[in-house]
């Protein structure tokens, strides 16, 4: 049985050897790409189900763009195979594969007007009724009135939509998006994320989206594969990745995490008890991703509750006393605290400004707590800061 991404949340889909039935999506098998001595992509296995919106997320240089270029045919894998709808396309010329790309800086043809840019692929394939198809596509991306303009006359967001239309009109098996929103400002980027997602739902094609923006990946994709140093660290639905990261890299790259060193006391069927700096906390067994006797106890900052010493916090977990507020930033919807713990570590706490709590001040003593089901346990051999800096881009 092949594990299809949607069916195996949280796990890298590794197709079992010897499988015969044709897979109708995009499949990468054991794909490796080396440039000289540098390995950009390392024995990558990936299944992208037909019709899904798939995001490859990772810091720059993690191999995600190389992976995309191999699917597009702009690079040839050093080893491994790429299959699309059951056909091996590993060595097919780019102009012979049913794949289209939305390039990072759009790569619109500057000498052609918008209409001709969008018509380019259809004309090359000698399709009939080009004008009708182009007008329908321009309508979809809401650029009909711009058909006679040159790309340089359009704004960044409009150029972006032309690039999308130019690729989409060919109805490819897979549409590749290479950091398509990277050149846009924040507000426009958010609008385009929704726009692209809407179009994907409307046309129902398979989208593979490469990005280093974790928020973008989580907003748009059904399935996110987090890539680091040429390998996929974890793959699954955005919420699944966020709630149950399997490595410190994913925990830090997708959002932020507090990682606290702990010693495993007892492993029960569904709960692992951990001695965390003298306090016993429990972690659901399904969220414990280490077999060692030590590990990183992870908790997302917004899952941590904060209160005055002795206050009843609404959490059945243990109370962790002895914290002192060392930094307060008020961001409107929430307040972000840094709390120095007795063992010297600073933990992040995001507290919603619901009005139930007053806002603590710098230097005040506090207690922390969290619901045990939100905690996760990671392998102690991993770097607690892996992915933290890249995630802040």
């Amino acid at each position: 049985m092949s594990q299809v991404a949607e069916q195996s949340p949280g796990g890298g889909a590794v197709p079992a050897a010897g499988e015969e039935t044709a897979y109708d999506g995009l499949r990468l098998r054991q794909v490796t790409k080396r440039f000289g001595g540098f390995t950009a992509v390392e024995t990558l296995d990936l299944d992208v189900p037909r019709g899904s919106f798939f995001a490859l997320l990772g810091p720059s240089g993690c191999g995600k763009t190389t992976t995309l270029r191999m699917v597009a045919g702009l690079e040839t894998p050093t080893s491994g195979a790429i299959e699309l709808a059951g056909h091996d396309i590993t060595y097919a010329k780019p102009y012979r594969r049913p794949v289209n790309t939305v390039f990072q800086n759009y790569a619109l043809f500057p000498h052609l007007d918008i209409f001709e840019n969008v018509a380019f692929g259809l004309r090359r394939r000698k399709r009939k009724d080009v004008a009708d198809a182009v007008h329908r596509m321009l309508e979809l991306v809401e650029l009909e009135s711009q058909a006679k303009k040159k790309p340089a006359q359009l704004s960044g967001g409009q150029q972006q939509r032309v690039a999308l239309a130019r690729a989409l009109i060919n109805e490819p098996e897979v549409l590749l998006l290479d950091e398509p929103l990277g050149a846009l400002d924040l507000k426009l980027r958010r609008a385009m994320q929704i726009e692209i997602k809407r179009i994907q739902v409307e046309v129902g094609l398979t989208f593979v989206h490469v990005t280093h923006d974790q928020e973008e990946a989580m907003t748009m994709a059904d399935t996110v594969a987090v890539m680091n140093a040429g390998v996929i660290e974890q793959m699954g639905a955005p919420a699944e990745l966020y709630e149950n990261p399997r490595s410190t890299f994913v925990a830090n790259f997708l959002g932020q995490s507090n990682l606290i060193e702990g010693r495993v006391l007892r492993r029960d069927a569904d709960v692992v008890s951990v001695d965390m700096q003298g306090i016993t906390v429990s972690v659901p067994a399904a969220r414990a991703h280490t077999d060692g006797d030590r590990g990183w106890v992870g908790i997302r900052p917004e899952k941590v509750l904060i209160g005055e010493p002795g206050e009843e916090l609404d959490a059945p977990g243990n109370t962790i006393p002895g914290g002192v507020i060392s930094d307060v930033s008020f961001v409107g919807v929430s307040t972000q605290y840094l709390v120095r713990m007795p063992w010297g570590q600073e933990l992040q706490v995001f507290s919603q400004n619901t009005g139930r709590h007053r806002i603590f001040r710098h230097g005040e003593p506090v207690e922390l707590s969290w619901r045990p089901e939100y905690a996760f346990l990671l392998d102690i051999s991993q770097d607690a800061h892996a992915g933290a800096e890249e995630g802040e881009e």
């Binding site: 702009l74 960044g156 690729a167 426009l188």
Partner: protein, 309 residues
């Protein structure tokens, strides 16, 4: 880029303020004399080195042809000089345009391949190759053309090889033929073609070529639909820089050709220096100049790249 100053509203259903591209070619008015002062050096230069000599040339072409160095010339508005010049020298005139055109065509084909290779395929050899393109300029034009005389000589290896292959008869020769003249012109003006072509090819974003491949254009179609149109500015300026001097050249025709390959430049030169027929020489010069100017205007217009030049 902020979107504070938006040009007339583009119909745009997205409810977001999209940043507009920077205004292009917007002429900013700066009051006062600064602009004129800045223009002054160029104006003086043009006046001194173009308008004055040109005036003198046109005036000469209208002198009484019966004058001479001894008796001096009189301005008699002899428009007949032009009729005479065309009647006597229509062959070298047409030949000049023909040879110049042929040399330009060969330069374009050879130069495009070379410039394309340097721009896209040369990698770290790019700069070295560019230096090599320009290297012939370190030697005198005359010396280079004379050495072509040796290369194409009757007992030279080129002729002997062609005779051996029976592409050339046993008493056939290259020197004193149109082949030699056009070859010399092509050789001498090739760098003028390569450099502008290189400049415009080098500017082409390789991702555009990737994009054309992604959109089902094979490399051949991709070249004609993307690379070629985007290199047109270089093609236009390269062909102009080649055709204009090549059509006016007289050294190649004189050293590598025979009187049968005489071009206008040679005729003008001998009219000036040997025959001392200044009015005829002037008239011929003006005709050639006007002819080339007309052709260039038509060409630039046809190419539709006025704004790219």
């Amino acid at each position: 880029m902020t979107s504070t100053a938006q040009p007339p509203p583009l119909v745009d259903a997205l409810p977001t303020a999209e940043a507009e591209p920077p205004e292009q070619g917007g002429s900013r008015r700066r009051g006062g004399l600064t602009g004129y002062l800045l223009l002054l050096p160029a104006t003086l230069w043009l006046l001194l080195f173009f308008v004055v000599p040109f005036y003198s040339l046109v005036a000469t072409s209208l002198f009484d042809p019966s004058g001479s160095d001894f008796r001096g010339y009189e301005m008699t508005w002899e428009f007949g000089n032009y009729v005479d010049a065309v009647r006597d020298y229509w062959q070298p005139l047409l030949r000049s345009l023909w040879y110049g055109g042929l040399a330009t065509l060969f330069c374009l084909v050879l130069g495009y391949v070379l410039a394309y290779a340097i721009a896209f395929k040369a990698g770290r050899w790019k700069n070295l190759l560019l230096v090599l393109v320009v290297a012939p300029f370190f030697t005198s034009f005359l010396v280079r053309t004379l050495s072509w005389k040796l290369i194409l000589a009757d007992d030279g290896f080129v002729v002997e090889t062609l005779q051996f292959l029976h592409l050339l008869g046993d008493d056939g020769r290259l020197l004193a033929t149109p082949v030699a003249v056009v070859a010399g012109l092509t050789y001498n003006f090739l760098p003028f073609m390569v450099l502008p072509l290189y400049a415009s090819l080098e500017k082409i974003d390789p991702r555009l070529i990737e994009a054309s491949g992604d959109l089902y254009a094979n490399p051949f179609v991709g070249f004609f639909k993307v690379t070629w149109p985007l290199s047109l500015p270089g093609v236009v300026s390269g062909t102009l820089l080649t055709f204009i001097p090549a059509a006016g050249d007289f050294i190649n025709a004189q050293l590598l050709g025979s009187p049968n390959q005489r071009m206008v430049g040679g005729v003008v030169q001998s009219l000036f220096t040997d025959a001392n027929d200044y009015p005829a020489a002037g008239a011929l010069s003006v005709i050639m100049m006007g002819g080339i100017l007309m052709m260039v205007l038509v060409y630039v217009r046809r190419a539709g790249t006025e704004d790219l030049l």
